[in-house]
Amino acid sequence: MQPIDLVFRFGGESGEGVISCGEIFAQAAARAGREIYTVRTFPAEIRGGHAVYQVRVGDDLLLSQGDRVDVLVAFNGEGYEKGLPDLRPGGILVCDGDQVTPDPSFDGTAYPIPFTTLARDQVGSLRAKNMVVLGAVAELFDLPREVLFSLVAQRFARKGEEAQEANRRALEAGAAYVRDHVTKQDPYRIGTGPHTGRVVLSGNEAVALGALAAGLTFFAGYPITPASDIMENLVRWLPQVGGRLVQAEDEIAALAMVLGASFGGARAMTATSGPGLSLMVELLGLASAAELPAVVVDVQRAGPSTGMPTKEEQGDLNLAVWGAHGEGPRIVLGATSVADAFQTTVQAFDLAERYQCPVIVLSDQFLGFRKASVAPPPVDEIRPSYRILARRNGAYRRFQLTESGISPAAVPGMVGLQHVITGLEHDEFGRPAYDPARRTQMMAKRARKMALAAQEPGMTRRWGHPEPVLGVLGWGSQEGVIREAVARANREGYRVAALHTRMLWPLPHGEIRAFLRQVKAVLVPEVNFSGQFANLLRTQFTIEPHRLTKSDGLPFRPVDIYEKIKEVYPDGR
């Protein structure tokens, strides 16, 4: 068994089954005991356009999609042309020999295979082409045959015997062609690896499972790319544990329903993307003022406006942190990886209930759609808190002024604790009250909750050199790629460390300040135009970080960050 680290890219026309081919390939590799990490990009159109599915297969914990493609699998001419610039020198090309003739200058190993002909003549359907490709690639790179065939059979179990038979024929046609007509000229094999028992999840699946694990009982949402599949999964799951899901008429209604349900005692949540979060802003303020727990997941996509709905961006940090009139308590968390998306969602419910305020979870297109092999989340260890409840005791003060700022809540139905909650400024009983003294007290009470939340433990992760001169401060889905870049810089002798912030508001001041004290310079890489996190850090810590930003719709590659580390590295390595 040899350790491997290989990046496969499948590219072709959207609608040709490129994505499902890549997905099955990735899952089969995971079942064979390899770690996997996938990236999926597709055009906004439902049909047509160029679709790409990239799978990194390896043995170490995979942190990013990698820098270069080792194996390009081109379904058509476009897949070849668009993929070639990312193929490493001397890389491997597997292409549809019916449609692609590699350029004479191509310096790698080419395996042209007549996928179209095989699908048409041996399976009898051009739609089977992706399965022919899958069979051929599996054979070529020694992906265990039983694993692949049983996975395909399982995935299409509901399609009937005829379709199953067609799939087997297609896989076999690809595999047989490779056995009979292709001479292997490269050393790469997937084989079997040590990492068995993994689950393969996308970020969105991890969020939905995390919500369920945290005790979600009510969800309302409005469909939007790239968040819809959170709702589509939960609508199948929630009723099976007695929960409820409503497809609302818009995002305002979705959050309104969530707040109504939360008032009624439910653990409630919605999931959306930037355009929806924009619509929810007024109600987020209501949740802050009326002190209602609520979880809002924003799977960010490229803005502004409708922007690029299927492309990556970390562009909603400003909106999540600052998007409000007036000032009220809210917590913003950033999910950092597939495994973390599960944990962060669980934690969001816990924090929402404990601090009785809205919690926004920022994920993004890249994280939401990519799949990774992760250790199965431990479901029996999850004990999220519930809001502290009042006891019947004289006149009930829903917004009692306490040291922590947290007041015991009451849920409708509890005897003798009737009260009104309101978005108007109010006194301890919830009655509208605008006098300066009480207003000041209430603002301070709500602010105390955030001062406390800022001390929540474990809201940063740190790695890299113990005595760094350069600090890389990141957030959200770019954790893995930053980690990989920092590890490479460390290997080359740079004293670099990274601090990844999981809670983006309120910021974990103590941990960030301690880190900043150690370093001479700071680099903030993020996938947005202006450097929103860098700006936030600048306002909170009066530092002037180096920025690495991009807004081209794609995540970073490790090399992008590595090069920037070299560029801004202070003298005296």
Partner: protein, 282 residues
């Protein structure tokens, strides 16, 4: 029968802040009477409102109250009812709240049919913001935003409710408290979305009482409230303002019950179910 819960019990210590003569006093009184008739305990009642003079309503009641933001009363009440179906849920607000900023939610609440009672206090003006036209203001009405008269045609709340599929539609007027109380009671008893159009004049900015009073008419003899076409016809006939139950769907299944019926026969223990889901991703 000696009723133990009298209307006064449903009033909080907070004195209403409405202007003298505001129609909303009558609606408040009618609501407490309806609740007393039904003998529903205050802690089992939740009243949700939007923003406006009329939306101050829950503050004056002894019940669980949620005075929210402008226009969102219906989705909030829907979420509350679905999450906590044991509660008697009332939604209240003005015509601006429900038909301008919140109009997008009205047909959806009606078609979903949660068991909530929605009382719209219609004064055909924006009271709280001091006298701008509302979506039910008549043509030519003068106001601070229509100095030369209103050119937007008014909406017809009752016709809209019938058209959207509300399963109970009634109209009352704020000065006929006993009749209004009875309509609200019927609305609460109705299993499904009950819309109550409560004409409630604003003497301060749009004193229409004298104009409206002569137009108020009872339902025609032998009126059949289960015929939506007839209800729609009557609603469109705006010279007369008919009060009473204009439409009632005899058999309806409330939204929260339809959702509950989606449960597969065996609701599973959450941890076992979660584990099986996770295993399916292997």
């Amino acid at each position: 029968m000696a009723a133990s819960l009298v209307p006064k019990i449903y009033r909080s210590a907070n004195k209403p802040t409405w202007c003298p003569g505001c129609g909303d006093y009558g609606v408040l009184e009618a609501t407490t009477r309806a609740l007393a008739t039904l003998q529903v305990e205050p802690h089992r009642v939740a009243v949700v409102s939007g923003i406006g003079c009329s939306s101050r309503f829950p503050i004056f009641l002894n019940a669980y109250g949620f005075h929210s933001v402008h226009g969102r009363v219906l989705p909030i009440a829907t979420g509350l009812k679905v999450a906590n179906p044991e509660l008697t849920v009332l939604a209240v607000g003005g015509d601006g709240d429900g038909l301008a900023i919140g109009a997008g939610h009205f047909p959806h609440a009606a078609r979903r049919n949660p068991d909530i009672t929605y009382i719209m206090m219609d004064n055909s003006i924006y009271g709280l913001t001091k006298g701008q036209i509302s979506p039910t203001s008549r043509l030519q009405q003068r106001s601070s935003t229509t100095p030369w008269g209103n050119v937007d045609r008014p909406l017809n709340p009752v016709a809209m409710a019938v058209a959207a599929g509300a399963s109970f539609v009634a109209r009352g007027v704020s000065w006929a408290v006993a009749e209004l109380a009875d309509l609200i009671r019927q609305g609460i008893e109705h299993r499904g979305f009950a819309f109550i159009h409560a004409v409630s004049p604003c003497p301060t900015f749009n004193n229409t009482l004298a104009q409206i009073k002569p137009r108020v008419a009872p339902l025609p003899q032998g009126y059949d409230p289960t015929d939506p076409v007839r209800a729609f016809e009557l609603a469109l006939h705006t010279e007369a303002l008919h009060t009473g139950v204009l439409y009632r769907e005899p058999e309806t299944i409330p939204y929260e019950e339809r959702l509950a019926a989606l449960e597969p026969p065996t609701v599973q223990d959450r941890q076992t179910f979660l584990q099986s889901l996770i295993d399916a991703y292997r």
